[in-house]
Symmetry: C2
Subunit: 455 residues, 2 copies
């Protein structure tokens, strides 16, 4: 972070001093992601100047990482010839993302300056659904033939390298169908005249274009891949996903899960660069919704007003019961939500999960109830001289056990049911569970209080 | 998941039928991670048989992914010669992890069968602190010299490939100091007799052995690296981190953050394979701790018992105030915790963050208060005939504004202070924030109620 700040200030200073030669050298030695971050923070005039000093390949890497508004502005300053150069330099997955981000008039200008062949590829890529494997794949990869020798394969890689997003994993195709995979490492280790077909792995892990992009990305972590082939319904190789894009997907999906669990509408803009108004918009709908549901809890209390008036001390245990219920529920729900996300838990495991949470909630409930019972009789009654009887302590402890049980069972089942119904299980996280558990635990509390205390 | 189940059943069936030839073929075509997952679920006798059928290189990949108890059992069945073979086949980072997992007597046996040179490397790796970049690096990589030609470099890679964890990123060293980096792709694209020194990138992104492993792993996502060099204090190249290990670190740290945010002690064992007793142990300390802190909230209510007895209707708004405070606070805290984790927010941003949350909380507070005011007067008073006056509605709404403000400010500052003090900010997540906000909002509630209602 510190480095980027200094780097940005250095760029601004060189622009102000018009030391373009020095600036060119500074930028040429930096990483694309750092340059983009610095340029995103400086003025339009400045970043337009700086961008023009970048060498061609670095320029396109920086371009990909800039914010949409900056991209749009840069495109407006480009000549048609420059647009053609940029489109040609971009990998197809990045070009497709660009088209999706830009407003219609910019898209028209971009497409008018794209060669027909690339345009067809882009049109196809743009048709894959938003969260599919097809939407994150690129069409630039190395394909080899079974009967090539290792040496011929390396020559083929040499000639394809400029245009391929990765050259390290090569695919072997026959009539466009994927029949094998071989790595550059294996090619380098082979006898130079050995055939690709003899050394390749025939059992290739691949995904379909329509598969979920998160599931595809998870395969990288599991198998340690650098690239993953994507095939169509007829098992024809149509693209590859590279590890850097997979990491980006994982990061995006993780942040989305964190946001949903905290009842926030996900956004991919960094927090410090998001306006207060925008943050408000991403948070207020959930706060309102949760407030409305908390109202039901209030209504339950209002319904038992007379009972509470008779035994006001019961009120003082409400926060503890509600909080413990909420915490127990979110422990179960977050565990299950992550298990689903990582592919460790599926709907058919529901009985196993419920049985496990049942056992855990009995253990937790009894421990908490015992601790509370001792605390009420020793601390509340003796030290604070509160008017709690053993019977009231019993009401609180029995309620606690039930609350923990309900919280854990609700917490583990709701995310699984949400997933089964096609919703994102993360939405069933802590805040919603808490609201439901609150209502349930109060009903149990007053029910038991009525039965045992006769109020 | 389905596939793994079938795969495991297939393995069990082949072992029962003693069709070892078929089993060998089945295993030889599978991915190491899948084999390990299947073997982890079958009996000792079965997995010992299956393991022995694996070809040498695949066997060591499977071994690395098996659970510690299975590793220990397999080692017990190995002859000394087999142990030597396994240790030699493992990359040094995996061998070091193995030594850390095994009990002392197994470690002694392993080290006794390790060549002196490897033993020294392992001893050095084991000395890096647990969460450091040094602890996840491997010492097997390709180093080139400045004055090698592209062709000579490729020959060097060929001869180093067997023993290197990745060959795709090669490092150029001079007197052991890192002076440049070049990829196989660049080597393949160069003129065959061009020198490495002319084409390499001299500005190399690297980390120190003592740097945080999470920060090192984050560089992969940022720059799209396949490997990252690790240097010592004198800038001597001592190891590399590969992208698969970086992904594993990111996944582990993410799961740890999720667990801490849900008040669970992190564990790396899959949920369904963890016993109820163990789950209880990872959850109960936090529930107890949070229950104790919720007690303070109860004490506040107890202290205002008389006020509540005078106006019992005030009780019915407690859940809504507590829940809304908790939700507002966790929105702020989760946002800030993730910002810190991703390196977007550092301690010096504290004033900016507080200012932003202040603005957001005013916006949210006013919206929520307005909605509540209307709801109390229209729904509660007219439809439910509750005994709420305009003054009581005002008390609730003013409290709501203050609660949201306090919640957001507490929620955004505590994680940053925790980080500054050297704690994990994730511990300052929702449950703790909720407990603190509960107490604060009740104090504000009763304070305002006393002032406005004169109770």
């Amino acid at each position: 972070m510190e480095d980027i700040r200094e780097f940005r200030e250095h760029i601004e200073e060189l622009i102000e001093r018009k030391s373009f030669f020095e600036l060119k050298k500074l930028l040429g030695n930096a990483e694309a992601a750092d340059i983009a971050e610095a340029l995103n923070e400086i003025s339009r005039e400045e970043y337009t100047v700086a961008y023009r000093l970048l060498p061609k390949e670095l320029a396109s890497d920086v371009f990909v990482e800039m914010e949409p508004e900056a991209k749009e502005h840069l495109i407006a300053t480009f000549s048609d010839r420059e647009i053609r150069a940029v489109i040609e330099e971009l990998y197809t997955d990045d070009a497709a993302d660009l088209l999706e981000e830009m407003p219609a008039n910019v898209v028209r200008r971009l497409l008018a300056n794209t060669p027909a062949e690339t345009r067809n590829v882009l049109n196809e890529l743009l048709q894959y659904p938003e969260n599919s494997a097809g939407s994150i794949m690129t069409t630039e990869y190395v394909t080899l033939k079974r009967d090539m020798t290792a040496d011929e394969a390396i020559e083929q890689i040499r000639s394809d390298a400029v245009d391929s997003e990765t050259v390290y994993t090569c695919y072997v195709a026959e009539n466009r169908r994927l029949v094998g995979v071989i790595s550059v490492r294996e090619l380098l280790l082979m006898q130079k005249n050995m055939k690709v077909g003899e050394a390749m792995t025939e059992h290739v892990v691949s995904v379909f274009t329509g598969d979920d992009r998160e599931a595809a990305a998870a395969l990288f972590g599991r198998y340690g891949f650098i690239a993953l082939p994507v095939v169509d319904a007829e098992h024809r190789l149509v693209g590859i996903i590279t590890v850097d894009d997979a990491m980006e997907v994982i990061q995006e999906e993780t942040e989305e899960d964190f946001a949903k669990m905290a009842a926030i509408t996900p956004s991919d803009k960094p927090y410090l660069r998001t306006s207060a108004m925008r943050i408000w918009r991403s948070r207020i709908p959930w706060l309102l919704l949760l407030m409305v549901s908390a109202t039901f809890t209030g209504m339950i209390i209002a319904g038992f007003e007379n009972a509470l008036a008779a035994q006001v001390v019961l009120t003082s245990f409400i926060p503890m019961l509600m909080d413990t219920g909420g915490n127990s529920g979110s422990q179960a729900s977050v565990t299950v939500i992550r298990g689903i996300s990582l592919g460790e838990i599926s709907f058919r495991d529901l009985p196993r999960v419920v049985w496990k949470e049942f056992q855990v909630s009995i253990l937790c409930g009894v421990t908490l109830a015992a601790a509370t019972f001792v605390k009420i009789l020793l601390v509340d009654r003796l030290l604070m001289h509160a008017d709690v009887t053993v019977l009231i302590a019993a009401v609180v402890c029995v309620t606690l056990c039930f609350t923990v049980l309900c919280a854990k069972i609700i917490g583990c089942t709701l995310p699984m049911i949400a997933k089964k119904l096609g919703f994102d299980p993360a939405v069933m996280a802590s805040p919603f569970i808490t609201t439901i558990v609150d209502a349930v635990s109060l009903l149990v509390y007053f029910g038991i209080a009525r039965a045992l205390l006769g109020i």
